[in-house]
């Protein structure tokens, strides 16, 4: 083919890019490309999973304590939401192959609604952490002046004397003083109970104790590591989700313009791959962060 007839052929085939000879080559290329991209994303999240696993195996009690302060119901709800959104996404691909414009658009919108719902639930969770002093960065928690609290205030918040409050899980939540918006681990029931040193790991034996007594500050530091990992992993995941929503918006617009048909539906399929990947990452995140070590009965 000379250059001239080449262009002619390309104009006849919708969506065919100039560097490809035919649609099959293009489809193969974008497919391999998207899979390689997802493999790379797996390595990216894999690093974080590794860090999580290293610390969980070193400080299981602190991580279990952290897990208990995540809302497993909301997490489970989000899991369900994402799984259903993957269903609507898969159906979108099906209808794109069929060239059914209306169903495509409806399903893309539904997928976006579920995606937005996921992000909304995440926002609720993050706000909850903000309110309870569980964000591991000083200043990013709700600042509560000392006078506002009723009882329970013990000492002032200096670096070395942060108090450790008993939390009764059946009683209403009590707000503790937090003038600087610090990370304020409030549940020391585990620490107060006195840990059975036979079940502790080597790292825990060094990490929770000072002078052979449980050190609330040191325990809190390990819980803080849990929350850091929680925020970084779910935050990165949410970022990918937001990108996914943007992708869906673009896809929805193109679908509305009837771009996709049985001859040309790869962008839908590739977007579907991305969406499923984001879903699968959550499927791993949820049990590891929310469920491991959880006490369902207090």
């Amino acid at each position: 083919m000379s250059t001239h007839s080449d262009t002619h052929e390309h104009h006849n085939t919708p969506g065919l890019q100039h560097q490809f000879e035919d649609m099959k080559q293009q489809e193969d290329s974008v497919s391999i490309g998207m899979w390689m991209f997802l493999v790379q994303e797996i390595m990216f999240f894999g690093g974080l999973f590794t860090v999580y696993l290293v610390f969980r195996s070193q400080y299981p009690m602190a991580f279990a304590a952290g897990s208990n302060h995540l809302d497993a119901f909301l997490g489970g709800l989000n899991t369900l939401v994402l799984i259903v959104s993957s269903l609507t996404m898969a159906l979108t691909v099906y209808y794109a192959q069929k060239g059914n414009r209306n169903m495509q658009v409806i399903l893309i919108v539904l997928t976006m609604i579920f995606g937005a719902a996921f992000l909304g639930v995440k926002a609720i969770e993050y706000t909850d952490k903000y309110n309870h002093g569980l964000v591991p960065v000083t200043g990013l928690n709700k600042k509560i002046k000392e006078e506002k609290t009723a009882g329970h205030s013990v000492g002032h918040s200096s670096e070395h004397e942060k108090p450790c409050y008993e939390v009764d899980h059946n009683a209403p939540v009590v707000e503790h003083p937090n003038p600087k918006g610090e990370f304020l681990w409030t549940d020391c029931s585990l620490a107060k109970l006195g840990l059975d040193t036979n079940t502790l790991t080597v790292a825990e034996k060094n990490g929770y104790f000072s002078n052979d007594k449980i050190d609330a500050n040191k325990f809190r530091d390990k819980v803080r590591i849990f929350f850091w990992i929680y925020f970084v992993m779910t935050g990165l995941h949410a970022l990918h989700m937001i990108i996914g929503l943007g992708l869906m918006a673009w896809l929805g617009w193109k679908a509305f313009r009837n771009t996709y048909s049985s001859e040309y539906y790869m962008p839908v399929e590739m977007s579907g791959l991305y969406w499923h990947f984001v879903d699968i990452v959550w499927i791993f995140l949820f049990p590891l962060l929310y469920l491991l070590g959880r006490h369902f009965l207090h």
């Binding site: 974008v30 591991p136 530091d221």
Partner: protein, 559 residues
């Protein structure tokens, strides 16, 4: 006409739009989808970073002329060696051959119009610029002093320099690497011309395939490591800070998990170039083609398993050390196989000593030393003595400069006629190659001795008894620096005054030589159909050797 017919008829190339003349506006360059233009833009950018990194190297060697820290304060010296490492590794060595020669040649070698994903290619260039600009900005603000290895807790807690800004620049730049690798993998799978089977591919392509696997799989891990480092600095998390329960060794594991495969990202493309040079300048098929191809893949795979050999004295367990040492020995074997195969290729060849071939022969010697000293460092009992000394510095400069940079320069010289359509001065090319070889050895061989004597690395001041060897090293560095600057002059000169190269100045069988120099934007007038095996230098691969001999005779008669 640039087709086979034209070559057969002995007609000179007609002036026609080539990729350089096809559009003169800045816009046509900055928004191009042409892999060749992207390669040229990479060439310019990468050379800038090489130059700046080289200036830092000069400062290091000048300071080390005397035992005391007199030219540079130790704080400044710490920044200088850190920035030398960062610029050279992330902004020169890793992109150099893949982003320049790989981008330019891969589609030509497989007989395609372009890479599979041209816009991704352009994005990868933009990302490289963004990351590079950020790092340069950070350097101007005051730079970093953590060492290119960013070990915690110094980098997380103690350093007062612009760690996060530089980290962000490297993080961004990583995606440039990932996208290039991704593009290459896809293209090699789907864009090969009819008849171009996997085992007819030039070994340059195999090398880039293996490199791309490492780029795609390894780079995300350094990305997440840098991200965690930045978060630790900002939020004082405690992932790497032991006072809050973190683990500095975890940083080292995460860091080296990428950074060891990274060295294979650097050397594999160089080996690909050498395979091309040795074969083509001996006019003989590479000996053991499949073995070289598979050993590239083996190096890429095994390269992921040996990261712990950077951590033998770090406090990791003895058993981990044993495993990593064993695997390090294993990963050396494929490289040895390559060296033997290259040497065997020369046997009964028809060898010409053009400048690229000088670089290739230099590579074999220098890579041999570099690789063998890697065995020294993989041997555990010995490496305890050699770790963190100048022996390490000498080892990695032998493989990275003596290996990769030599291969890069050889490749640039070899494909210069194809990329620019001009021939450079062979005389100056040879002089410069020899100066580089001599200067390089004089710079780095004394450092092996210094290392065994115990001189630690990253030292601004050292004991007096080590001064003589340091003086040799600095003397060598001046020769090396001069030798490296020479190509800028004569290659630049050739752009304006060089002789026209013609399509195939050496009458070589690779597909890149079957089109004009410089090639047209769409690469081939007519898409090739491959019916010959790789590295066939005779007429059966469609080369018109008779015609070339006739033309040569006419040219000599005319003068």
């Amino acid at each position: 006409m640039q087709t086979q017919e034209a070559i057969v008829q002995g007609l000179a190339a007609e002036p026609k739009l080539n990729y350089l003349t096809n559009g003169w506006t800045i816009r046509s360059w900055l928004l191009t989808k042409d892999h060749k233009r992207i390669a040229i833009m990479y060439l310019i950018s990468v050379s800038v970073f090489f130059f700046i990194g080289g200036l830092y190297a000069g400062a290091i060697r000048l300071e080390l002329l005397t035992p005391a820290s007199d030219l540079l304060e130790s704080g400044t010296y710490n920044k200088v060696f850190t920035q030398h490492g960062i610029l050279m590794i992330f902004f020169f060595l890793i992109p150099s051959i893949p982003a320049i020669l790989g981008n330019f040649l891969l589609p030509l070698m497989i007989g395609a119009k372009d890479l599979a994903l041209p816009r991704i290619n352009l994005l990868s260039l933009y990302i490289y610029w963004a990351g590079g600009a950020l790092v340069l900005f950070a350097l101007m603000q005051g730079g970093v002093d953590t060492g290119w290895t960013f070990y915690a807790p110094y980098s997380t807690t103690f350093s007062n320099t612009y760690v996060m800004l530089v980290g962000l620049g490297i993080f961004i730049n990583g995606f440039s690497s990932i996208l290039t690798g991704l593009n290459f993998i896809v293209s090699i799978h789907t864009m090969r011309a009819p008849g171009m089977t996997w085992f007819r591919l030039p070994l340059f392509v195999w090398a880039h395939y293996a490199t791309s696997l490492v780029m795609v799989l390894g780079t995300p891990v350094i990305a997440i490591t840098i991200l965690l480092l930045a978060l630790e600095r900002v939020g004082k998390i405690g992932i790497f800070d032991p006072s809050i329960g973190g683990d500095p060794i975890l940083f080292q594991h995460l860091f080296w998990f990428y950074s060891h495969p990274a060295v294979y990202i650097m050397i594999l493309p160089g080996m690909g170039v050498i395979s091309e040079l040795i074969s083509n300048f001996s006019r003989k098929k590479i000996f053991g083609y499949e073995f070289i191809a598979f050993s590239s893949i083996a190096i890429a795979v095994f390269g992921f398993l040996v990261w712990g050999h950077h951590m033998f004295v770090s406090g990791q367990s003895m058993y981990a050390g044993l495993v990593f040492s064993f695997l390090t020995m294993v990963v050396a074997v494929p490289s040895a196989i390559k060296v033997f195969n290259w040497t065997a290729t020369l046997y009964k060849g028809s060898i010409s000593f053009d400048t690229p071939m000088l670089y290739a022969i230099g590579f074999i010697g220098l890579f041999l030393v570099g690789g063998l000293t890697g065995l020294f460092l993989g041997a555990m009992g010995l490496t305890v003595h050699l770790t963190d000394t100048y022996f390490i510095v000498a080892h990695f400069h032998y493989v990275m400069v003596g290996g990769q940079v030599i291969a890069y320069l050889g490749g640039i010289h070899y494909w210069w006629p194809k990329m620019t359509g001009k021939m450079y001065s062979e005389f100056w090319g040879k002089i410069s190659a020899m100066l580089i070889f001599v200067g390089f050895n004089l710079t780095f061989f004394p450092q092996f001795i210094l290392g065994y004597m115990g001189m630690p690395r990253r030292y601004a001041a050292y004991p007096e008894e080590l001064q003589v060897l340091n003086i040799f090293s600095t003397a060598g560095a001046s020769v090396l620096g001069f030798g490296l600057l020479m190509p800028v002059v004569y290659l630049g000169h050739s752009l304006i005054f060089g002789k026209a190269a013609g399509d195939n100045p050496w009458m070589l069988p690779g597909l890149e030589w079957r089109t004009a120099s410089p090639p047209p934007t769409e690469n081939f007038e007519k898409m090739p159909v491959v019916t010959w095996e790789a590295y066939e230098f005779g007429e059966e691969s469609g080369l018109d050797l008779e015609g070339a001999r006739k033309r040569d005779a006419e040219a000599t008669a005319a003068t």
